[in-house]
């Protein structure tokens, strides 16, 4: 156990106990290795215990009645678990609100008496589910006299009591067998479920458990836990009881013959192969050098390899050239740009959502969004450890140090936004905008955003009801949310006693600003539209920002002191109660000991046993490379959504932590594996495999990458050479970030329309699914016929490669060079002949002014001529340059290298030469081929 926590937070009382309690998942993993409990200590199945009503014991409300109703479907979404209930009877969805459910069942209301203690058999709660048709819309769910019936009956006979306190806490579920490996389709295996309670009780709850299959095509499970094999493949069956959620792997191997020998180069390969061997899937061979280079360049740098780079790589005979290339790619600016864009996805960098509260000055938001990007970029480029990068966002406050005054803060902000020589925002120790978004204002929004961005967990379900696929209850959510209640944006109030009379504050600045504007507007006729006060204030703020002067910046800070009160909703139910913050799956925290409630959260993230922080990042990274996470969806780590290869995820996550969150270590660990470098070409056993990483998965290029690939394939040779290093106008970089328009990315050089149709995320909801790489028709229409696309392969476009080709085909005529020379001569003469105006005597004011005007005019004219001269001289130099003759073969090869990043096959080259010969002109032939290659699927996918 790490012992850094006490040193950082000396005030924390029992760090060891806290940490131990925080990580039930680790404890659970150990428990699973323990031997099965002895049979005579286990309480028998429900059928055995309540089969005979006269001998039956009193059932427990929490342990038996609620789980039974849940398993029978009573508390399901379509029945009484619906938000409006059903037939006037409402249960908590997925049944975990024991108090409420007990009240719903037993509280006597007129016409709604569901429990008759005097005559238990006539209780509605018992009679209704045994009825059919009109009398119970949910149909008959129990038989009279069955153990289910008896269980309910016995409970009512014993007084229909709730016993949530008496039963104590639930500890864990245990399933047998631990893994289901089928031999043939149709085979069935019975699951057995044991519930362990913290008081030591162990019960066989198989008949009180809900089951679910994660893939119906692989295995089915019925109500009683009988699992039937269907098709070849692997998945999980999940058991739900109380707040226990326990998945068990199930598979029907794809092949059963002798597994071939497959060499494993790295630990990743070993772990992947271990699973593949189990499910009988033989991995594909390793991809060719050209495929590897294209794939790795696109994945690591969001950029196609340059033609010269491809040829050099293919010619390179060094055995370790792939590893070298990986290091090279990771060192390029395009790597930092693309992965910063990804981090902006994960953290929700949306210009539209950034809330600067400065009277709605719109373009500020774009700047702030860009600062967000730049701030992360600097850290990605430096390979700052991920935990530090995350801490800079998570723990951010507007003031960068504890002793910074409001005035210092406002001055600091001013330096970032002034027009001349703005200060470097990326030098700031933290980046507060994550918490300053319109959609991240309320405590619940903050907890959802935090959980999504840094834990890869979606807890929104638990906002209203027990999470259907995880252990989270509404109470868990409320307690987690309590960490964020004191985090505020606005005017940080200072106790009156501490206010200095002349001190600059948010209020004083606001007041001063308003007074100034009011004074300016005083006496003017307000023609409403233009001189509107709001607009005048906006103008003044804009002016001050440009000049780097003070404006009333709102600030992000954590309120200290006040304990967290339950919201009005909870007050209505349980009176005003104080909610103690509790870490997800962990222990309650005494916030008084911290300056900022986010500190204990960050400490929790950094603990090596944290079940989410490292895993969430590792899994997202993996998903970027394989188009699918080890847990999929990649941002949905929940208990029921078991990893397809748990040892693999554990290995990478613990390695990531052991390497102090070195992000490039993680990249290398993945990229250098054969698993990453496999071909898309499949064999008979892995053809249908989509989730065990046995072959490369073909995926469409992400929006920004596709956009840049089109640019790179069509732009000048000069630009191609710098494409991965000069990223200023790249869509994968700054241009794709910081636009004040949803789905846009607009910017000066990128095309918001194209990025939108290719699925660039708006980053406005907590879901990685916002980025989509589904192909659509509009994308196809874009690459076939969009005017902006066609302009890229138009010779009229000066930056287009096709214009280079034109120049190499069309030799400049001697005549045009001659006329250019004449023009240069003429312009030079004109320049020399410009008269010098006569300077009048200093006393003659009027003449002096006229003279100055003339001089100015003269200078302008001279400037114009000079520019034209330079342009013409450049053109002439270009014409006079010796040119190699047009080489059709080389041009055709270039088209292939530029688009599909490989040389054409002999057949393709022959075909291309034939097509070129048949074209109306060589330029048209080359252009058509370029157009066609850009429209191949091979270009548009990463394979």
């Amino acid at each position: 156990m790490s012992n850094f926590l006490p040193s950082i937070f000396p005030g924390m009382k029992t760090p060891l106990a806290l940490i131990l309690a925080l990580f039930p998942i680790a404890a659970l993993a150990n428990a699973l290795k323990a031997p099965a409990p002895e049979p005579d200590k286990i309480l028998q199945t429900a059928a055995a215990r309540w089969g005979n009503v006269t001998k039956a014991e009193a059932p427990s409300f929490r342990r038996h009645v609620v789980p039974l109703m849940s398993r029978l479907g009573c508390s399901g979404r379509e029945c009484h678990g619906a938000f409006s209930g059903q037939g006037g009877f409402q249960l908590s969805l997925f049944g975990y609100d024991f108090e409420k459910d007990h009240r719903a069942i037993t509280a006597d209301k007129e016409h709604e008496i569901r429990v008759e203690l005097q005559d238990p058999r006539s209780s509605l709660i018992l009679a209704k589910p045994a009825l059919d048709g009109e009398k119970h819309k949910g149909k008959k769910v129990i038989e009279k006299g069955s153990w289910e019936y008896n269980l309910m009956l016995k409970w009512i006979q014993e007084g229909a009591k709730s016993d949530v306190v008496e039963t104590g806490e639930f500890a864990r579920l245990e399933l047998f067998p631990k893994e289901l490996v089928f031999k043939k389709a149709g085979e069935a295996i019975q699951l057995k479920v044991l519930a362990h309670w913290k008081d030591g009780t162990i019960e066989d709850v198989t008949q009180l458990t809900r089951f679910r299959t994660n893939d119906e095509s692989v295995a089915l499970v019925n109500n009683s836990g009988l699992v039937t094999s269907k098709e070849k493949g692997d998945t999980h069956i999940v058991a739900f009881y109380d707040n226990g959620v326990e998945p068990v792997p199930v598979m029907l191997p794809v092949s059963t013959g002798k597994f071939p020998v497959v060499k494993t180069r790295t630990k990743v390969d070993e772990l992947v192969l271990e699973k593949l061997r189990k499910v009988g899937i033989v991995p594909s061979d390793v991809a060719t050098d050209a495929e590897f280079l294209r794939r790795a360049s696109l994945d690591v740098t969001g950029t196609l390899p340059a033609p010269a780079e491809i040829e050099a790589f293919l010619a390179d005979k060094t055995p370790s050239k792939r590893a070298q290339k990986i290091d090279e790619l990771l060192a390029r600016p395009a790597y930092a740009a693309w992965w910063t864009t990804k981090l902006c996805d994960f953290t929700g960098n949306s210009a539209r959502m950034i809330n600067n509260n400065l009277n709605g000055i719109g373009n500020l938001r774009s700047k702030m969004s860009r600062q967000w990007y730049d701030w992360i970029y600097k850290r990605v480029a430096e390979n700052q450890p991920y935990d530090q990068l995350a801490a800079g966002i998570i723990l951010a406050t507007s003031r960068t140090s504890l002793d910074q005054t409001y005035k210092d803060y406002a001055e600091e902000m001013g330096t970032y936004f002034r027009k001349d020589h703005p200060a470097d925002f990326t030098e700031r120790a933290n980046m507060p905008y994550f918490w300053q978004r319109t959609n991240v204002q309320k405590p619940e929004e903050k907890s959802l955003a935090f959980a999504h961005s840094f834990l890869g967990v979606r807890i929104e379900c638990a906002q209203c009801h027990k999470h259907p696929f995880d252990q989270w209850t509404k109470t868990d959510f409320e307690q987690f949310q309590a960490f964020f209640t004191s985090l505020t944006q606005g005017n940080k109030a200072v106790p009156k006693a501490e206010v200095q009379p002349d001190e600059v504050s948010f209020n004083s600045l606001t007041k001063e600003l308003k007074e100034k504007v009011a004074a300016e507007l005083a006496g003017k006729v307000l023609d409403t539209k233009k001189n509107n006060e709001q607009q005048a204030i906006q103008r003044e703020i804009g002016r001050r920002l440009d000049a780097g002067e003070l404006v009333p910046w709102p600030e992000l800070y954590a309120r200290t002191g006040a304990p967290v009160k339950a919201g009005p909703k909870n007050q209505a139910q349980g009176g005003s109660r104080v909610i103690t913050p509790k870490i997800l799956g962990g222990e309650e925290v005494m916030l008084q000991q911290y300056n900022d409630p986010r500190e204990p959260l960050m400490a929790w993230l950094r603990d090596k046993d944290n079940p989410y922080f490292a895993k969430a990042f590792v899994n997202r990274l993996w998903a970027s490379y394989f188009s699918r996470g080890i847990v999929e969806p990649a941002d949905d780590l929940n208990l029921a959504n078991a990893p397809v290869n748990a040892p693999l995820l554990d290995y990478l996550a613990s390695g990531f932590i052991a390497h102090s969150y070195d992000v490039k270590w993680l990249h290398r660990e993945i990229l250098n594996s054969d698993t990453y470098q496999r071909s898309w070409k499949t064999n008979a056993t892995n053809k249908l495999d989509e989730k065990n990483f046995s072959h490369a998965v073909i995926r469409r290029l992400p929006a920004e990458v596709a956009f840049d690939a089109i640019t790179m394939a069509t732009t000048s040779s000069e630009r191609v050479a710098t494409f991965a290093t000069d990223i200023a106008d790249r869509a994968i970089g700054p241009i794709g970030n910081g636009a004040d328009r949803a789905g846009g990315g607009g910017g000066k050089n990128a095309d918001g329309y194209a990025l939108g149709i290719f699925g660039k995320p708006t980053r406005e909801t907590n879901c990685d699914c916002e980025r989509t790489t589904d192909p659509t028709l509009l994308q196809t229409i874009y690459t076939r016929n969009d005017p902006t696309f066609l302009a890229r392969i138009d010779t009229a476009n000066r930056n287009a490669w096709i214009d280079e080709i034109r120049k190499s085909i069309e030799r400049p005529s001697a005549k045009s060079a001659d006329s250019l020379r004449q023009n240069i001569e003429r312009a030079t003469q004109k320049m020399a002949a410009l008269p010098t105006p006569e300077k009048p005597s200093a006393e003659d004011g009027e003449a002096m002014e006229a003279y100055q005007r003339k001089v100015k005019q003269q200078e302008d004219t001279a400037g114009e001529i000079k520019t034209r001269l330079e342009q013409m001289k450049k053109e002439l130099a270009e014409m006079e340059k010796p040119r190699p003759p047009f080489d059709p073969g080389a041009a055709l090869r270039q088209v292939f290298l530029r688009t599909v990043s490989r040389l054409p096959t002999d057949a393709e080259l022959a075909q291309a030469q034939a097509d070129l010969a048949a074209a109306r002109s060589p330029i048209e032939g080359i252009r058509d081929l370029l157009w066609a290659m850009l429209n191949t699927r091979e270009f548009m996918v990463n394979h």
């Binding site: 076939r784 066609a932 699927r937």
Partner: protein, 434 residues
């Protein structure tokens, strides 16, 4: 029409956030997001086959258009007088004379009410039928219609003139996005549609290039047919080719093909021409069209703006739309839904303007089996709120979908697996479709 700014500084022009054309390749489902679920308790008998959604951006004053209060005090009443219409007992603003002559064709909904007074939120609420949530983006009416009704091969299912705006597809994904025309049509002229217009390219060239792609797109061999992404892209390639070659697709956007008598039903401004285009598109098989007429954000100088500009334009365009749809025999199968994002303050402000007011507003519904020539709902004496039970945006959306035979309680699944009904809270208004 396409370029107007609201008071919150948001330009509603080119909110270029485009999705893709919908409904193609139904056999091809990359991610099977959506599943049928419980549709219990509601049956839909609607038979309409297409819809037009007219957005009055900025939020029109209900008191000066379709919900006049001649007996309200001076502080509220406004300058305009009511006129009678061709429906007994139904009166509205004197500056809508053409609509008054076809009031039998549409229903007026008064006392429509919600609580979101910001342009964007109100627009989202009205345009999706669901109150916006920070945690979930709902699909627009058009995306749902595109998904449910599908598209014909040559044309997109969902067209927006000129643009649809922010995040039109919500949790449904880009597949069901609108095809934005990017501009409004001009009278008597064909429209050049981005990606469809063949600028300087002949059909021969289109064919030749199509053949070239076939020749060089062979790297994946047979695997190209098995892989979902590759086969999908191939299918889209074919569809794009079909559309680009299609005369029907081009002519659907060509207003010069309209008869003089049909064109004469409309004005010549952009809104009227957009309405005419909408009738043409519906005729040719488009399923949902968003039209925009902005400039209703009248914080200042409300009455002059309405009288001189907005109302004459709305009157000409909408009346033309109803008449032309009827003349083309399409009114019975096309639902028309006209609405702003909110109403405006009943009390006139010192700048002769009215401000945002979601508590009372109006909407219009017509065609597609909707019973026209009636007023549904009522606002109170001063137009300050619904008199009795309010009509909610959810109710209108539920009615709208029902008329199209789409069960508003049908459940979709969001990408994260959360079940969500198309309209979460609304109930169809019986007097309109019952």
């Amino acid at each position: 029409m396409s370029n107007y700014t609201c008071c919150d500084g948001v330009t509603r022009r080119d909110f270029i956030r485009i999705g893709a054309i919908t409904g193609f390749g139904l056999g091809f489902s990359l991610q099977n997001y959506l599943a049928h679920a419980s549709t219990e308790g509601l049956t839909t008998t609607g038979k309409a086959k297409a819809a037009i959604f007219v957005r009055l951006g900025g939020g029109p004053s209900h008191m000066d258009t379709f919900d006049l209060k001649p007996d309200a005090p001076d502080t509220h009443r406004g300058e305009f007088k009511p006129i009678s219409t061709n429906v007994n007992g139904v009166q509205f603003c004197e500056h809508l004379p053409k609509l008054a002559k076809c009031a039998d064709k549409f229903a007026i909904l008064r006392g429509v009410s919600h609580t979101l007074a910001a342009h964007e939120l109100g627009t989202l609420y009205m345009g999706t039928g669901n109150r916006p949530l920070p945690s979930l983006a709902f699909p627009s009416l058009g995306s749902v219609v595109a998904k449910e009704l599908g598209a014909i091969p040559e044309l997109p299912a969902f067209v927006a003139v000129p643009t649809q705006g922010n995040n039109p597809t919500g949790y449904l994904g880009v597949e069901y996005g609108p095809f934005d025309t990017g501009a409004a049509p001009a009278a008597g002229k064909p429209m050049e549609i981005r990606g469809l217009a063949l600028r300087g390219v002949t059909l021969d060239e289109v064919d030749r290039r199509q053949n070239l792609v076939k020749r060089y797109d062979t790297a994946f061999g047979d695997f190209g047919k098995e892989d979902k992404i590759l086969s999908g892209m191939d299918e889209f390639g074919q569809k794009a080719y079909t559309m680009m070659r299609s005369t029907k697709a081009r002519e659907a956007f060509d207003l010069s093909k309209e008869t003089t008598s049909m064109s004469a039903l409309f004005g010549t401004d952009q809104f009227s021409q957009s309405c005419l285009l909408a009738t043409r598109l519906i005729e040719n098989g488009v399923k949902f069209i968003t039209l925009n007429i902005g400039g209703w954000d009248t914080h200042n100088d409300n009455f002059n703006t309405l009288k001189n500009k907005n109302l004459p334009s709305l009157d000409a365009g909408l009346s033309g739309l109803f008449e032309a749809l009827a003349a083309k025999g399409l009114l019975d199968s096309t639902v028309v839904y006209v609405t702003g994002e909110f109403g405006r303050t009943p009390k006139v402000n010192p700048r002769a303007g009215r401000d945002h007011y979601p508590r009372a507003m109006f909407s219009l519904l017509a065609g597609g089996g909707i019973r026209g020539g009636q007023v549904i709902g009522e606002s109170d004496a001063k137009g300050e709120g619904p008199k009795d039970k309010p009509i909610t945006p959810d109710d209108i959306a539920a009615t709208f979908y029902s008329a199209l035979g789409i069960n508003p309680r049908k459940e979709y699944k969001t990408p994260s697996g959360r079940p969500v009904m198309i309209v979460r809270y609304g109930t169809p208004i019986e007097q309109l479709i019952g």
